[in-house]
Amino acid sequence: MFAGEAVAATLTELGVTHVVWLPDSALGPWEAALEASPVRLVRVCREGEAWAIAAGLYLGGAHPLVMIQNTGLFESGDALRNVLFDLRIPLYAIIGYRSYLVPDSPDTARRFTEPVLQAWGLDHILLERRESLAELATHFRACESEGRPGVALLAEGKM
């Protein structure tokens, strides 16, 4: 949906210093552009790590962003709970929304994504058009200025 260069430029403009990520097939093609940008990529082995590392980066004065798939959101619930709600660290995440663009998809990852975000009380937007990068920037800035966490769901097709 988005070119990696455009994403990298947007994140750089937003002041993001580190992307802590475990990509899926929609996020993965952004790797080269992110690597070529001022943003530093931190690769993790499991998504729970991503929230904790991003929290440490935040404590140390950096401006991290978490980038994972919705399946990773499910996996990382305890780390997310601790960082966002116990420690009250207002991280922002871009989360791949697997199967969103597949009509009548039976993919349970699609079925549970938004209910889970609602259960966590996480403010989120859906990125499904090219112009959505501007919406991402607006939402990111709003969350940052209000000191609250936020999520941008990236609409994806195939499972």
Partner: protein, 215 residues
Amino acid sequence: MTAQQPERTVEVCTPRFRRMPLVPALEVLRDQRRENEVVFTSMGSAREWPKLSQHALDFHYVPSAMGQAQSLALGIALAQPNRSVTAITGDGSLLMNLGSLVTIAASGARNLTVIVLENGIYEVTGGQQTAAASAQLAPAHVDFAVMALAAGIPSARRFHDLPAWQAGVEQALRLPGPRVIVLAVEPVEGYDLPMPKPAIGERVTRFRTTLATSK
């Protein structure tokens, strides 16, 4: 080794049940602490360290997500590469996040030290054995230091008695980082982890401010 036993690729490098007392082991570490060094504690160390040290760069990770202490510390180390960061975690916690060893190795955070307090049990839930310490594994021994090296961590050491730890601590902390130091420690009975004060939100704000303003 008989034909029925599987081949072991990790040798027993220290006697399985020799352990040092926890508090003196932590005192050795405290005595090596640098003035601008972050010490990030969790679980058992978060209970004992505040009795040994009152420092603005101590952060007691309570309440925690078990297994994430070394990952949080890695984030701090990456954000502040000129500052030494020490994370103290437990073997049960590390078992919950073994992939973090690879992540730490890949990060290249030379300023990070992970101390693993290996007592073989989950103290927090009443002392049940970890899978790594279960009798079914004997005579094999899960060696977290060997595991760290295999994950790509440049330096790892394991100490199982206090005199060896006292004699080797300076050299171990000078090894190229990121480094993992495993301390085989005695379990503590009657586990009680009081909630540090002030409340976590205030501690986070204070700690972040201290990190921003201290060198």
